[in-house]
């Protein structure tokens, strides 16, 4: 028996460094794995298009998508810009209207009573269904897309901001009252900062939704923008550029999402730091 334990002890000593090494390899593998899988999928896609006899109007190869996008490099930027402006303007409109409205809802039960039924009704209505009417009212230009985008992005802002403003611990409000602090001051120094992390998580959802809204608007009626491109190119069977526009929309969505994340880190660093720590743990 002592022999065996000696052996296992020795084996343990020899093997001791190896778990850390293997865990390091494991970590690198877990970081590299998504990229490898993505690259493999692209290769399979490319090969099956080239040698699998898939017609290019059904599924264009990745290289074809890139080359078609390159060929259209003169016209694409202006369409990107149109959609980007619509998305950002729609998002900001949702924020600029949504946050003050949430504040009113939280501060006044009267405003809450009159706005809630309307909000619930609008919320349960699919925003896509509103698009034709908005187009009819606002017109064919970018204004209607901004509005559709804003309406689509509006609700997460309202819901999260309201929830955040109401999440302030009751004791903190009691303390503020005992200090005889003016209501407005309590609002600026306690309620609003407390709500900021909630507002930002609402904004992250809203940013994605405002992109959807803008594209829906362009689908319903437009002569510019990436949504418009998807519609026209698919009707002319230029599938490669349909995919190209989709890639651009996806990139735009990712970039805008990270812009919101960066803003969150600037405006509520205490929260971003905390959540980053949680993620590490």
């Amino acid at each position: 028996m002592p022999r065996k334990s000696e052996i296992s002890l020795a084996a343990g000593l020899i093997e001791a460094p190896s778990p850390t090494l293997s865990s390091r390899i494991g970590r690198q593998a877990s970081e590299g794995a998504p990229i490898a899988v993505f690259a493999a999928l692209l290769v399979i896609w490319e090969l099956s298009c080239r040698y699998g006899g898939i017609p290019r109007w059904l599924l264009p190869a990745p290289t074809l998508i890139v080359s078609e996008m390159w060929a259209a490099r003169e016209s694409l930027p202006s369409h990107i810009l149109v959609t980007l402006v619509e998305v950002v303007a729609g998002f900001f409109a949702a924020v600029v209207v949504g946050i003050p409205l949430s504040v009113l809802i939280v501060l006044s039960s009267f405003v809450r009573k009159i706005t809630y039924p309307v909000l619930v009704m609008l919320q349960s209505l699919p925003k896509v269904a509103l698009a034709p009417i908005i187009l009819l009212w606002v017109g064919y230009g970018p204004g209607s897309k901004v509005l559709i985008s804003a309406v689509t992005a509006f609700f997460p802002i309202i819901i999260n901001t309201t929830a955040g403003l109401e999440a302030v611990p009751e004791e903190l409000l009691q303390l503020s009252r005992s200090l005889e602090a003016p209501t407005l001051k309590v609002f600026w120094k306690v309620r609003l900062p407390f709500a900021m992390p909630y507002v930002f998580s609402g904004m992250k959802v809203s940013m994605a939704l405002s992109l959807i809204g803008a594209v829906v608007g362009e689908f319903v009626g437009a002569n510019r923008g990436l949504g418009y491109l998807i519609l026209t190119y698919s009707s002319t069977m230029n599938t490669a550029l349909v995919f190209g526009a989709m890639v651009l929309l996806a990139l735009m969505g990712i970039v805008l999402f990270y812009v919101v994340c960066a803003a969150e880190r600037v405006f509520c660093p205490w929260y971003a730091a905390g959540s980053a720590r949680d993620r590490v743990l």
Binding site: L172, L175, S178, L179, E180, K189, P193, W270
Partner: protein
């Protein structure tokens, strides 16, 4: 002895959702004297926190009156400070700015109070943590910051609602002793709610014993243990007698 805080037949009734009348507090009368340390003990649900909320006027009693320095207390006042079970610090402010929060809210000069805040932090052993964020502190340290926050504007009365209940036993004893030291240095009238009988005896000049349903103050027991107190007193026979007396009053020592 001048009365600081008087409860005059304070009664609190709730109507539950099932339309039943619930009496949280029934004719609670008691006097807390200036610079006295009073602990309120009682079983959970006896309304001790409710009594504290009524004392701070963040809650209105159904009947009865609270008098502060002889005058009826109608509204919350900055002459009464509060410490809660949770520290509830503002996570975006540094420790120092959290301590200065009341000064900020009251619109007083932060610059004038900053030395006071620093002294208080030193008093509770948090010197050097002024610019730390609350999230970086342990629960006990956060509660120390909350105590500093309650003291920085120098209220005459301190209402403490189970301030150490969320802490582990050792931190709890440590903070209790620290509170006594602070109380000794800057005399205050303290009203301290706890569900720990040992803690109440160790800290207080008098213990208000409450019974549940309806919540009443069953007795006010003066604790004649010498001061300064320390943890070794827990093993004295007098201490055990007080504990037994309070347990009997609450009705949990008989079985």
């Amino acid at each position: 002895m001048t009365p600081m805080l008087e409860f005059d037949r304070v009664t609190m009734r709730y109507t539950t959702q099932a339309r039943r009348q619930l009496v949280a507090l029934q004719d609670c009368s008691a006097i807390v004297y200036r610079d006295e340390f009073v602990a309120i003990v009682g079983p959970s649900g006896c309304g001790k926190s409710t009594l504290l909320k009524i004392a701070s006027r963040v809650l209105d009693g159904t009947q009865g009156e609270v008098r502060f320095e002889g005058q009826p207390l109608k509204r919350p006042t900055s002459r009464i400070g509060m410490v809660f079970q949770q520290p509830i610090l503002l996570p975006w402010r540094t420790v120092l700015d959290n301590v200065l929060f009341p000064i900020d809210m009251m619109g007083r000069s932060i610059r004038d109070s900053e030395p006071v805040a620093r002294d208080l932090l030193e008093l509770v052993g948090l010197a050097g943590f002024e610019s730390a964020m609350p999230g970086e502190l342990s629960g006990g340290m956060q509660q120390r910051v909350a105590i500093c926050r309650a003291l920085v504007y120098d209220p005459s009365v301190l209402l403490m609602d189970e301030p150490f209940a969320a802490l582990d036993a050792m931190t709890r004893e440590e903070l209790g002793m620290e509170l006594l030291r602070i109380w000794n240095e800057r005399r205050k009238t303290v009203l301290f709610v706890t569900h720990s009988i040992p803690e109440a005896i160790l800290l207080a000049d008098r213990v208000f014993v409450m019974t549940a349903r309806p919540g009443r103050i069953a007795a006010c027991i003066p604790i004649d243990l010498p001061r300064p107190r320390d943890l070794s007193m827990v093993s004295t026979p007098e201490y055990a007698l007080y504990a037994q007396e309070i347990r009997n009053l609450i009705g949990c020592g008989t079985h």
